[in-house]
Amino acid sequence: MTHDLSEDITGDQESKNYQNKSENTWREYFSFNTDHKVIGVQYMVMTFIFFLIGGLLAMLIRAELLTPESNLVDRPLYNGLFTMHGTIMIFLWIIPFNAGLSNYLVPLMIGARDMSFPLLNAISFWILPPAGLLLLSSFFLPNGTAQAGWWSYPPISLQVPGDQFINGEFIWIVSLVLIGISSIMGAVNFVTTIFWMRAPGMTFFRMPVFVWSVFSAQLLQLINLPALTAALILLLFDLSFGTQFFKPDANGDPIIYQHLFWFYSHPAVYIMALPAFGIFAEVLPAFSRNPLFGYRSVAIATLGIAAVSIFVWVHHMFTSATPGWMRMTFMATSMLVAIPTGIKAFAWTATIWRSKLHLETPMLFAMGGAAMFIFGGVTGVMLAATPFDIHVNNTYFVVGHFHYIVFNTITMAIFAAIYYWFPKITGRMYAEGWGKLHFWLTFIPANITFFSMHPLGLQGMLRRVSSYDPQYQGWNVIASLGSFLLGASTLPFIANMVGSWLYGPKAVNNPWHATGLEWTTSSPPPPENFQEIPVVTKPPYDYGDPKYSVVLDADNGE
């Protein structure tokens, strides 16, 4: 699979000269650097560390839920654990990981030398480590972290010890505002870059779907994130400066907070999911040797999902004193999302249908993730049906549903991306056997863990409870054991990544015989990405073109 075709494919004779230029420079990953590739790697490595921390917290939560009684952590700590778990996973794992991956790939994919604003790009990244550390530091406050869940709904989030100005909730808000500022700066950069920095010939309908996804997701950041920032700032005022925006006992309205919050946090689901769909659209064609089925409709569906997702936020509030007309309106808009997502799911399936499948690790993760998305999507439509949602809202059914999305789909897609672009990023191949082991250790326990949550929710087990009725124990034990296995699955992954980065066999420019500009430059790419800015003349996903299918010298490489 690692046949060096770069010369036959691109005629880029000089690429070899660049090959070693950016190696042995691990130091630059710890420094303020404006190269989008370095920044991309910085993001990805840092967020993975937060993923491990968030995962440890999840395992503690699941350990508490092994038994019906509250016996591992006391109740305030339990509340802190799920609050921090949710916050870290969303705001310090998936969203910034996507920013990192997009940072690495977008300029390469559109044939640009860097992002539009390299300095801004570096600043966006460097806001995150202090913000993350600040958030974690709240574990050491005398009264601990925020305990109101990652939603931080008032008035519960305003219940803090009266005599302390610096409390967990305060720190939580400040870190989130910082992270939001970083995201907005990133979004400006992505949208500008994709709009203005495309190589000659790279029309919108020649862009890979991954770029479409990043474009749509970052537009959502620009449009919707200000609502969350506003909500958080008002909340901070209520918390620390005596205002009464959300305080019901002083004529404030806590429901307004929910509207502002979900106006961002529903689209945030797609800010997380769209790049994952983009990854599927890159990996599935490459490993089935087919053009992406219905490329144009998939590209338009990407923008369509983003557009519709702005108008569905009230489906998180069906039980929040929401009047009937609003419930029905938002039920209808929520269901609309199923149309563009349905188009995507069908397109992935049609791409795989009757193809020539190569089941290497990236493909396993992509197919596994796509399949799990279909499950999560089906339960998502169920939740949009108001009468059913009224029963399962705030139960483990919802927790199961969104983990099928955030873990079984998005995190799986992220792993697919890491394996797929690992040779490009590091210039080395990962160990395939370890990769496959990692896949099975992830895929099976993830389903054990998160499937079990659905029957629990149907039976009425509420989320965010630190103890529960004994009748629920069976499925809880299964879910907890699954989650411990899931935790263990990261070990072969880390070993593989570290080992292969240091000692893996050298990778060629295009180990997967994939289309896409990023594969035409050297692995790893030189500082300015391309020797010469490429001129694009072909549609994307041009699999079937002999250039990508004929292996000239089959025994070369490895």
């Binding site: 006391d74 219940q159 009937g324 020539k356 049906a385 009468p387 059913f388 029957p455 039976q459």
Partner: protein, 306 residues
């Protein structure tokens, strides 16, 4: 594009899928807790319908993927094209139309069933008249005026305690409901947002401090259930539960008179835990709001005036 044989195979596949999904859809009823209200029956019908369609879609797509994995593996060095078709306009139209139709169907079903529930009455905010006329007369619009009820019970939620005031001014920490009668629950919260939830009723409603929210339901199955707080409400959230009894009108009235004459100080788990925390392996000792001692019932002073 396909041979006759392949069309027959596909038709067979679809037929098998329909049988399987219908069967699983029927099973779905047994995944739910017992149906204790008329509303629960409607919700379960909808759930069964959603499961049938969901299984059809899920197995349909997964089946194609598994088929490809089994029959369409490439030999390791074969990087030639998978199949020659570059997209097929007819298929694309079909695959846009399919989810659209399914979604419209699901939305109409859900709308219908929501009308039949007619459960929530926020102090009437907006009236939306829809052209869809079906179902019983009083439910022809999505109305914010709940259907008339024969009984009204006040429900008070606070951290972390439920109490109820009955028509004859009796207050108690237990919820008693007469069977087969529609009862209006007048929900009020004192401090933070709580949620009214009895899984067997399939109904859930947040109780927002400062707002009066009505919920109308009709229990149809005698028994003892648990009322849970469904909206995270702080440290002792998991303990905010109480008993719900659905019983005959006679028994209900009997209980009312009996309770009117007794004074009770019910045990509250949150209070107990606040005084005597359970032993846990890790003890953070972080801040918690102290739960108020529950008011003595039937002294006709319930603290709900916020």
């Amino acid at each position: 594009m396909f041979s006759v044989f392949e069309y027959v195979l596909m038709a067979f596949y679809v037929a098998v899928l329909m049988i399987i999904s219908r069967w699983i859809g029927q099973q779905a009823f047994s995944w739910m807790p017992p149906q204790a209200t008329t509303e629960a029956q409607r919700v379960d019908d909808l759930f069964s319908f959603l499961v049938s369609i969901g299984v059809f879609i899920f197995l349909g797509l997964i089946g194609i993927m598994v088929y490809a994995i089994v029959f369409h593996r490439a030999s390791p060095k074969d990087y030639s094209e998978g199949h020659p078709s570059r997209g097929d306009a007819r298929l694309e139209i079909l695959w846009t139309a399919t989810p659209t139709l399914l979604v419209v169907w699901i939305a109409l079903q859900s709308f219908n069933i929501y009308q039949q529930l007619n459960i929530l009455g926020l102090n009437q905010i907006v009236h939306l008249h829809t052209p869809l006329e079906s179902a019983p007369a009083y439910a022809a619009t999505v109305s914010d005026v709940p259907k008339p009820a024969s009984e009204t019970i006040d429900v008070f939620a606070k951290q972390w305690d439920w109490s109820f005031r009955y028509p004859n001014n009796v207050t108690s920490n237990q919820l008693h409901l007469p069977i087969n009668r529609s009862t209006r629950l007048n929900l009020q919260a004192q401090d933070v947002i709580h949620g009214f939830y009895v899984p067997e009723f399939r109904l859930k409603q947040d109780i927002v401090p400062g707002r009066k929210i009505n919920l109308v339901l009709t229990p149809i199955r005698e028994g003892k259930y648990r009322l849970k707080d469904s909206q995270f409400s702080g440290t002792y959230f998991a303990l905010m539960e109480t008993d719900v009894y659905v019983e005959s009108l006679d028994k209900y009235n009997q209980w009312l008179t009996q309770t009117a004459n007794s004074e009770q100080t019910p045990a509250n788990q949150a209070v107990a835990e606040n005084i005597q925390p359970p032993k846990t392996l890790f003890n953070s000792g972080w801040y918690t709001v102290a739960p108020a001692q529950p008011a003595v019932a039937n002294k006709r002073k319930l603290t709900n005036d916020t």
